[in-house]
């Protein structure tokens, strides 16, 4: 793999909340696609390497986690306040807009929302941020079997946060990615969570889940191999059957 990114200007922009963030301004579509692909690849590699227990090293894990956090921050900044270049284009399938695990869905198709099968191979047209948010929500709906504590009719946005499968769907997490989270907090604001941007701050990331377990133990190797929460990440490459296993384990945790 040999990517070369030629970027023109890097600008400091302000999103609607007044937070400064740095964004890339691309000269051409090809550049942007290339950049997004590389970023995606980087993220995937980060996850793979974090799970590689052959070389346990706190130093290495911290560097990987920081890199991953940086990429996620960049992704959520883009999503939360889409800059001009993002609004009018079709971008390749990116993990920003899908959960890491892509199960067989029963998604209600709305007009502007593609089916998951589209997302699997093709392109997501995100011409408006509203669409994007709806996509997120729809994805969450079908995820969780009834074994899970909450009812399926309730807003599943927070449900998914428990599993951490919507790590990359966060918008404007101002508290940082590794904030502590109690189950009670999640259930309290169930109704308004998808509309209230501050709620996003309490959502735990999938990465957080794995990284926190990674770093929680004194010796990360052992923890990594035993921690069931890391399996949601692994299932990104597995099929839907593994999701059942994950659910069982996590319910056991809860």
């Amino acid at each position: 793999l040999n990517y070369e990114i030629i970027l023109s200007i890097k600008a400091t922009l302000k999103n609607q909340s007044g937070l400064k963030y740095v964004s890339w301004i691309f000269e051409s579509e090809a550049q942007k696609t290339c950049y997004l692909q590389e970023r995606q690849q980087m993220l995937r590699l980060c996850l793979d390497k974090l799970h590689d227990s052959r070389m346990p090293s706190l130093h290495r894990s911290v560097l990987l986690a920081n890199t991953m956090r940086h990429i996620q921050r960049e992704m959520t900044q883009e999503k939360g306040d889409p800059p001009a270049y993002l609004c009018s284009t079709t971008i390749p399938h990116s993990q920003v807009f899908t959960p890491l695990c892509t199960p067989e869905p029963q998604i209600q198709s709305l007009d502007c929302i593609p089916t998951l099968s589209d997302m699997d191979q093709g392109y997501v047209d995100l011409t408006c941020s509203r669409c994007a948010e709806e996509v997120e929500m729809e994805i969450d709906v079908s995820f969780f079997p009834s074994a899970f504590a909450t009812s399926s009719s309730s807003t599943p946005f927070t449900d998914s946060s428990l599993l951490g499968l919507t790590s990359l769907l966060e918008a404007g997490n101002t508290l940082g990615y590794l904030t502590d989270l109690s189950l009670d907090d999640i259930f309290e604001d169930i109704d308004t969570s998808m509309f209230d941007s501050s709620e996003a701050a309490s959502i735990r990331t999938c990465v957080l889940c794995s990284v926190s377990h990674l770093l929680a133990g004194d010796e990360e190797t052992k923890v990594l191999s035993d921690c069931p929460s890391t399996s949601p990440l692994q299932c990104s490459h597995n099929d839907f059957n593994d999701l059942d296993h994950i659910m069982e384990v996590l319910v056991g945790l809860v």
Binding site: L1, L45, H59, A65, S212, G217, D218, K222
Partner: protein, 421 residues
């Protein structure tokens, strides 16, 4: 069978050179005395002593194996005929005494020469044992074992200028030891957050100041160095000085943080400067200036465009060391393809040399190497794409007084000397 060398260190006089390897062994070389009989063997290094310093251990509580790999060796200043060194693996530091024995007592009363006990009733006369010369034997014995003080992996040890204490650093903590006391150490730095999920930075290296016994520095994975004064507080969590070069925003990439992680920090012999090694460069800092280094040397800038592949094959996490020469006028560090680099601080000249058997015969002069970064490759140049990233020189050492260097290339040790006319 030779194992991968994991540390190289000259002692204070340069007479001895110690290497530690991945198998937990320490091999010490001694410089031959120059003699008129063999003028050509000016100061060759021969094996002096070999011993097993650390064995693999198993932590039953965490179900983890503790590697026997020697991470660092540091010599103590010589105080008597014996030599002392500290060697450490991930968890345990050991003080070894290396002593010579060239005499043997003969003529004991109660036992024969072969050790068998003599029947006391048969002894009719008493004799005084006499010391007889014997073949030189070099013995290594562990004198102190400093264990159970580090939860995380030890990356550095450094002997203090008071010659009584030393520090040991792991990913999150630094401890101060007294050489005589093994059952307790004093924690002087602790960067472990209350909530481990908030951890974003680890300690990568630490060293005591060469003259001021109250001063030490430690580097971090974020490219910063903190200088601490032990007189200021018992726990040196607040630094006295904080060294960080502001990041160039135009060169920011996904890899910026990883390549800024400092892999080694070394004070100059004078104590006025310190040198740090990150993935692509070596920086010299004036201890009186915290906001930027005074000198920056690019080790292998041609790798900047290859960071993606170096990240994939994990080479980006390689930890290179660096060292000063005796007069602080030159610095040396390793690279890939068995290349190592030397920079002259005064003339600003630099040279790339190769440590390999094919390219160097004994007594031959090393030929400077050059990496071709683009365009037409000249004869004898090597293109970036044909570099062997498995041949990495992570550990080098410079004789404290002379121009003699030791370079560890995987499982081979090369010793080079200045050519005498």
């Amino acid at each position: 069978m030779a194992d991968i060398i994991s540390t190289v260190e000259f002692n204070y006089s340069g007479e001895l050179l110690a290497t530690g390897d991945k198998g937990g062994r320490v091999v010490i070389f001694q410089r031959e005395q120059e003699s008129k009989n063999r003028p050509l063997s000016r100061g060759e290094y021969n094996v002096y002593s070999t011993f097993q310093s650390h064995e693999p251990e198993f932590d039953y509580l965490k179900s983890l194996e503790i590697e026997e790999k020697i991470n660092k060796i540091r010599w103590l200043p010589q105080q008597n005929a014996a030599h002392f060194l500290l060697s450490t693996n991930d968890k345990t530091i050991k003080l070894w005494k290396i002593s010579e024995r060239d005499k043997r007592a003969e003529g004991y009363n109660l036992k024969d020469e072969d050790g068998r006990l003599r029947d006391p009733f048969r002894i009719s006369t008493l004799r005084v044992p006499v010391l007889m010369p014997m073949d030189l034997m070099v013995e290594a014995s562990p004198r102190r074992i400093f264990a159970n003080a580090h939860t995380y992996h030890i990356n550095s040890i450094s002997v203090n200028s008071d010659h009584e204490t030393y520090l040991s650093a792991d990913d999150l903590r630094i401890n101060l030891w007294h050489l005589e006391i093994t059952d307790r150490s004093f924690n002087i730095v602790d960067i472990k957050p209350a909530n481990m999920e908030e951890l974003t930075e680890v300690i990568t290296a630490a060293e005591c100041h060469p003259h001021q016994c109250n001063v030490f520095v430690y580097s971090s994975s974020k490219g910063t160095i903190r200088l601490c004064d032990m007189r200021a507080a018992a726990l040196c969590d607040r630094h006295s000085k904080f060294f960080e070069e502001p990041e160039d925003p135009s060169s920011r990439s996904f890899f910026s943080e990883i390549i800024s992680s400092i892999s080694d920090v070394k004070f100059s012999h004078s104590g006025r400067y310190m040198m740090t090694r990150d993935y692509l460069s070596v920086k010299v800092w004036d201890l009186n200036m915290e906001n930027r280094p005074v000198e920056t040397y690019q080790v292998h800038e041609y790798l900047r465009s290859k960071l993606c592949s170096l990240y994939e094959n994990d080479c980006i996490f390689d930890k290179f060391e660096c060292c000063w020469n005796g007069s602080d006028s030159a610095i040396m560090t390793g690279s890939y393809n068995n290349f190592f680099r030397m920079f002259d601080r005064n003339t600003r000249r630099d040279i790339t040399l190769e440590a390999s058997r094919e390219n160097s015969k004994p007594r031959a002069t090393l030929k400077p190497r050059k990496v071709c970064t683009g365009g037409k490759r000249k004869k004898d140049e090597i293109s970036v794409d044909s570099l062997d990233f498995n041949k990495k020189i992570l550990h080098t050492a410079w004789h404290p007084k002379e121009n003699v260097i030791a370079v560890a290339a995987t499982n081979n040790l090369y010793i080079f000397q200045d050519k005498m006319n």
